[in-house]
């Protein structure tokens, strides 16, 4: 029977039912049987403190050669290509990094340098941060210029409050995320 032939009361009831269906998003078909009321949410999960990157070695073994820049093995070493690394007088470590694992925008990249004296004693560290896309990128300020994926980008890791003059450095990549 079409709606147009329904008695007024029935048509009104149908309209109300349809409106209720619209309000709840349910179809006019038989509603699925209700599951038992969900249990209350479990107690909040106890998480440890957010994990930090491992501290650099206090002593570098074997002792480094003057001007040497090593690459420490880590979770993302196999995803990047580091080239032209140099220890500068600034002091800083400069170089070029190309991400080889992804083609999409780089959301987070962190390069850490640990600086050592000629005997291999730790003098301090420095960090380089880079991103191509984040909230800023989506807020109408997209990244332009060279990209870490593909051809790669030049980087400089400035030393931060060293306790002496560095003779060598070790690079590590604790953070790398592509979209």
């Amino acid at each position: 029977m079409s709606l147009t032939h329904l008695p007024r009361a029935a048509a009104a009831a149908t309209a109300v039912a349809a409106l209720l269906a619209l309000a709840t998003g349910c179809s006019g078909a038989a509603a699925p049987a209700a599951a038992k009321d969900p249990a209350p949410a479990a107690a909040p999960v106890s998480l440890p403190a957010p994990r930090s990157a491992p501290a650099p070695a206090a002593v570098l073994t074997p002792a480094p050669a003057a001007g040497e820049v090593r690459t420490g093995q880590g979770p993302f070493t196999d995803r990047v290509k580091l080239t032209d690394t140099h220890l500068t007088a600034a002091p800083s470590v400069t170089g070029h990094i190309a991400i080889s694992s992804d083609v999409s925008d780089t959301l987070a990249l962190e390069i850490t340098a640990a600086y050592y004296d000629a005997q291999g004693h730790l003098l301090g560290t420095g960090t380089f941060h880079y991103e191509e896309e984040g909230e800023e990128g989506h807020a109408g300020q997209p990244h332009t210029g060279p990209r870490a994926t593909g051809d790669g980008i030049d980087f400089t890791v400035p030393a931060d409050h060293l306790t002496g003059t560095p003779a060598a450095a070790v690079l590590s990549i604790p953070v790398l995320v592509n979209e």
Partner: protein, 514 residues
């Protein structure tokens, strides 16, 4: 109150019923009756970055123009709007990322791009998978990306920034920046800045976790998982090392997955994203990537593990609570970003094979709702007419004048059409123009409708595919659904509505706080 005439009520009833999703689409597949069928399981599959044209192109490529992918045979079809919002506001941001979109269907809230299950004001929001888990449903999260990536992450973790994946915390990856470029203060709820891998390994939200991303995890995560009863496939590394490497970790394999039988299982089959099927097929038999399962393999196995965990879907004497499973075909998006049409097409096919696995289970089970959709479109994928070219290959845009009827002219009015620019269109990109990195030309593919001697990359191939960009677009995405109550998805809807519809399917009532 003034009484409305009957005709008005009648029209209102019909219009409302249609809006509520009772209308069925023109799809000729048999409609499943909803009567007397309760929903015990929901399987939500999404092709990341899979727009309407992605589906059409894959259909043309693999099934022919008159064929259908499995997802297209599901009886109810609709569309989903995917926009995000700007941070600390309700103002739409018309192009979403995967994080905001996944938060929308996981929690029913619009949020800013890069947010993982927090609202636009950085407040944690409960997810459907968390609610299902708390209510006693079995839960699974499967992806061809790293399991810490935005789409899977939004169901079982919370983070202010999607980049906070692990293995370690850093301000740059985990803390948003203020307008002046400095970092926001750390939130009181430290969960929101805890690396996603750490959260996943400890919150127990998903009983079955399959995908990539082993490099995000450390041995203490494996220990935490095992303490909760997870069967951990492969090895997360050597606890004696300060940082894990490719040498210290052991990825899981398909053989490991085949043997898995735990009530809780985690299998990470690559340290990064899984290998795209197009490339995996070309690798030698002894390549380690050949040991990775396909998305269909992971889908079938996760369904088996989740049903086994519940004593089997057909066991009427057990609880009627079944499972909630999310399955992501992630590389459709990643390869669209790369404008690699061959890889994109094969990833859509691999995703459709996973849809087939879910659909076959659902048809047998009779109490399973299957939803297939996407989080957003990626790269403005287009099918252009054979032999034609795009604006990206032209010296100028198309003309915009009508000499026969000048009233049709508008501003900007261009008198000359753009001819093809040989410098930017130096041959089909998967054919003669493959060596030119500056080439904007289409990629061409043979279809089952082409003569047998037609090759991919040739001008004779009938499927000509182009990309607008390397980024997401704001186009609506398709949605397909099968099973009890699936007709509610036969609508034009906003992605946040998917949460409510799935919630009602699982719990039989409107969403509420748990």
């Amino acid at each position: 109150m003034r009484r409305r005439p009957l005709k008005t009520l009648t029209v209102l009833a019909i219009a409302s019923a249609v809006a509520a999703g009772t209308a069925v689409t023109a799809n000729s597949a048999p409609q499943q009756s909803d009567s007397h069928q309760d929903i015990r399981n929901v399987i939500y599959l999404l092709g990341d970055g899979m727009g309407r044209t992605h589906v059409t192109a894959a259909r043309d490529r693999f099934m022919g123009a008159g064929g259908k992918l499995t997802m297209e045979t599901l009886p109810n079809t609709g569309a989903v709007a995917t926009y995000a919002v700007e941070k600390n506001s309700a103002k739409p941001a018309l192009v979403t990322d995967s994080a905001s979109s996944a938060t929308a269907w996981s929690s029913g809230v619009k949020t800013y791009n890069a947010a993982i299950s927090v609202d636009a004001y950085e407040k944690k929001v409960t997810t459907l998978m968390e609610q299902a888990h708390a209510a006693g449903f079995a839960t699974g999260n499967v992806s061809t990306a790293e399991v810490t990536d935005a789409t899977p992450a939004a169901e079982f973790s919370h983070a202010l920034l999607r980049g906070c994946q692990g293995p370690v915390y850093s301000d740059a990856a985990c803390l948003p920046k203020k307008d002046d470029g400095s970092y926001e203060a750390a939130p009181a709820d430290k969960t929101l800045i805890t690396p996603i891998a750490e959260q996943i390994a400890r919150n127990g939200t998903a009983d079955v976790i399959l995908g990539g991303g082993l490099a995000r995890f450390e041995p203490d995560d494996q220990k935490a998982l095992q303490a909760q009863g997870y069967q951990v496939l492969g090895s997360f590394g050597d606890p004696k090392l300060p940082a894990q490497t490719a040498a210290s970790q052991q990825v899981a394999t398909k053989a490991d997955l085949d043997k898995a039988n735990g009530k809780k299982v985690i299998g990470l089959f690559n340290r990064g994203n899984l290998t795209v099927e197009h490339n995996k097929a070309a690798l030698p038999a002894d390549a380690p990537q050949k040991q990775e399962p396909s998305l269909a393999d992971m889908t079938r196995k996760s369904i088996q593990l989740l049903t086994d965990r519940k004593g089997g879907s057909y066991d009427r004497h057990k609880s009627k609570k079944g499972f909630f499973l999310q399955v992501e075909g992630a590389q459709i998006d990643k390869r669209s970003h790369a404008n690699d049409a061959a890889q994109t097409l094969d990833e859509i096919k691999a995703f459709d094979d996973a849809v087939k696995a879910a659909y076959e289970f659902a048809k047998k089970d009779g109490h399973t709702l299957v939803i297939v959709t996407a989080d957003h479109e990626c790269a403005g994928f287009n099918i252009i007419e054979k032999g034609t070219y795009t604006n990206a290959e032209a010296v100028a845009p198309p003309a915009n004048t009508d000499a026969g009827n000048p009233a049709n002219n508008s501003v900007p009015s261009r008198t000359a059409s753009g001819a093809k620019d040989p410098a930017r269109s130096s041959g089909i990109v998967n054919g003669a123009g493959a060596g030119d990195t500056k080439n904007f030309a289409p990629a061409t593919f043979r279809t089952p409708d082409d003569p047998k001697d037609v090759k991919d990359g040739s001008p004779e191939a009938s499927l000509w595919l182009t990309y607008l960009s390397g980024n997401h677009t704001g186009a609506d995405v398709p949605i397909y659904a099968y099973g009890p109550g699936s007709n509610v998805f036969a609508a034009s809807q906003i992605n946040t509505e998917l949460y409510g519809k799935m919630y009602r399917s699982l719990f039989g009532r409107s969403p509420q706080q748990h």
